[in-house]
């Protein structure tokens, strides 16, 4: 895995005119502000009262700050806590599955010799690009045929078979590990599964983190699959639940409540991102440049 250098190697310490330097800072700040603006607007909506959220003129800074809105999300949508739990279930289990299955296959592709290995790995590479969402309707029909609509099976089970992207990610990492690592163990009669589980996996925490963070984020974001494969309010994850909650009689939604809920929902991904920024970026880069 290629490391990013700590300092930008593409830039040199050429003398820069101080005016252009401050202009650069000004532009950077404006860009940052533009990127933060939707968050600020949402935060401000979340803090407004029901009346202020839908009254003119619109203020970026709320007249009254209703911090209790965040707590009221729970009160107004009694199932919100349940949806959070569901979101965690539907993110954590698939993540465990994807790491186990993909690392195992990745290990085999990286360290074991067998006939047709090259061809099989060719299939892995070919399926990296397969657009699965386009097959949404056949996927739905598949789960309907096995009477699994409304259960969590369709959203959890497939992960336990691994996926091409993560197999590839693990394979690249394991292939770069030194040969001495397994040689002694094999001479002593240690099985391949043991080698994978107790020698390679403990040394692969970085790539496990990369894979897990990516998959967790992806599952946490998932909207389309749970929306059509589940059919009961109490089994929805947050994104789908939010869609149905907080409706008023005339069909519009209570924007302040929805904003507060959506912000609460975004917290775990932001925390995961902050904790694992290094790994996320690494995953992006490895998959991108070597792919």
């Amino acid at each position: 895995m290629r490391r990013l250098p700590a300092t930008p190697s593409g830039s040199l310490h050429v003398r820069v005119n101080p005016w252009s330097k401050s202009a650069l800072y000004a532009i950077t700040w404006i860009i940052c502000l533009v990127f933060l603006f939707p968050f600020l607007s949402m935060f401000s909506t979340a803090l407004k009262s029901d009346i202020e959220a839908t009254s003119l003129p619109v203020h970026l800074i709320p007249v009254q700050w209703h911090w209790e809105n965040f707590a009221n999300v729970m009160k107004n949508a009694p199932l919100f806590g349940r949806w959070i739990l569901n979101s965690f279930i539907l993110s954590i289990f698939p993540t465990v599955g994807i790491v186990l299955a993909s690392s195992m296959a990745g290990f085999a592709f990286a360290r074991l010799r067998a006939p047709f290995k090259k061809q099989l790995f060719g299939i892995v590479l070919a399926t990296l690009m397969i657009p699965t969402t386009s097959m949404f309707v056949p996927i739905y029909l598949f789960w309907r045929n096995v009477h699994a609509i409304g259960t969590y099976w369709p959203l959890i089970l497939p992960s336990f078979f691994g996926d091409a992207f993560n197999v590839f990610l693990f394979r690249q990492f394991f292939a770069s590990m030194p040969k001495e690592l397994e040689e002694a163990a094999i001479v002593e009669g240690c099985g391949r599964f043991r080698v994978w589980w107790s020698i390679f996996m403990p040394n692969a925490l970085a790539v496990i983190a990369t894979s897990a963070i990516w998959h967790f984020n992806w599952r946490w974001n998932e909207f389309m699959m749970p929306r059509f494969l589940l059919n009961a309010m109490q089994s929805y994850p947050v994104p789908v639940g939010l869609l149905y909650a907080f409706k008023t009689e005339i069909g519009t939604s209570r924007v302040n409540m929805v904003s507060a809920g959506a912000l609460i929902f975004a917290i775990p991904t932001i925390v995961v991102f902050m904790l694992g920024q290094k790994y996320l970026v690494q995953g992006f880069v490895t998959s991108g440049i070597k792919g």
Partner: protein, 332 residues
């Protein structure tokens, strides 16, 4: 990996060994193969069931009238003919989807390139800026889409508050003909982070000696960027364009949530700029219950994506620079 000569060496050694040892070696080989196949078995099964089978069944259903009537029967190419000639939404939504994905991907790459070039300088607080630009990529699509839906709201949205202050009057962001552009702006906002990260990594991989040589030769910063840095990061750009297009053509969540205030408007009136292909697909399957037709639509989208990707790969020879030495270096 073992190169040719070492295999020859091994064979030479083995041929001088006692037959018993050779057999043990052979058994070891078999054991290794068995272990290999056991370990990749989950992935193989998953591949066969969730990719091969699902794609094949989808193809099969696409030739039936499934959902349209009680008794399912084969209808030949009717679904495809219907899509190409009888469904008024088909071409329109396909066009919207292509416009959306191409424009937003190109814009994301351009903005990402500019931001990456800026952040590749010696700025104080680089990490902070990078995090801010990357944040929209991390935030759940649902949260992001909802925040934009409120931002775009004609009456109570902050965007119009700003636009009216400037004196441009109020813009109906979520209606045609602005809708598509609103969707694109949002896509760029959330897409720049990803392309910036990949491009930044690409830029940091540019050898310093190349840049130094250019500086010594008196090449200005813009030409330096254009003729030294840019060609070397074309693989990163290519990756961005391909993944961005494949993702963009399957976009659904954002389009659905951005309609009105985003709440449950799946069956509401059609706004052209927001009616992407995936929405047509969902509508055919879950409102009209034409499942066979929806499967045909699935396959058409799949083929369109394959064709676009294929064409991109074919053009890549002309503009993507692959450093063969660098490639060898990264190979295990």
């Amino acid at each position: 990996m073992i190169g040719r000569p070492s295999i020859c060496e091994k064979e030479a050694v083995m041929s001088t060994m006692a037959p018993g040892i050779r057999r043990r070696r052979f058994n070891g080989r078999i054991q290794e193969s068995v272990a290999f196949y056991l370990m990749i078995a989950p992935w193989v099964v998953g591949f066969i069931v969730f990719q091969v089978y699902i794609f094949a069944s989808g193809l099969m259903y696409s030739f039936t009238n499934m959902g349209a009537s009680q008794n399912v029967r084969y209808v030949g190419f009717n679904n495809y003919i219907r899509a190409f000639s009888a469904d008024p939404q088909f071409w329109a939504s396909l066009l919207t989807t292509l416009e959306y994905s191409f424009i937003s991907v190109l814009a994301s790459v351009f903005v990402g390139l500019a931001v990456a070039a800026m952040l590749n300088r010696d700025l104080r607080g680089r990490a902070l800026y990078r995090t801010v630009v990357y944040l929209p990529t991390v935030v759940p699509a649902v949260s992001a889409a909802l925040s934009w839906a409120f931002l775009y709201d004609k009456n109570y949205g902050l965007l119009n508050a700003v636009v009216e202050k400037v004196g441009l009057g109020s813009v109906t962001w979520l209606q045609d003909p602005t809708m598509l552009w609103s969707l694109i702006i949002m896509a760029v906002w959330s897409g720049v982070g990803g392309s910036m990260i990949v491009l930044l990594a690409g830029m940091q991989g540019v050898p310093v000696d190349l840049i130094e040589a250019a500086v010594v030769d008196g090449v200005g910063p813009f030409r330096r960027f254009r003729h030294v840095t840019l060609p070397l990061i074309t693989p990163a750009i290519f990756f961005n364009v391909v993944t961005g297009l494949v993702g963009g053509m399957q976009m659904y969540t954002q389009a659905e949530l951005l309609q009105g205030t985003g709440m449950d408007t799946q069956y509401a009136n059609i706004i052209r700029g927001n009616y992407v292909y995936m929405r047509l697909l969902v509508r055919s399957a879950f409102r009209d219950h034409r499942l066979g037709y929806a499967c045909a639509l699935s396959w058409i989208l799949f083929l369109v994506i394959v064709i676009v990707t294929f064409v991109l790969f074919r053009t890549s020879d002309a503009w993507v620079y692959y450093d063969s030495l660098a490639k060898e270096r990264t190979q295990p």
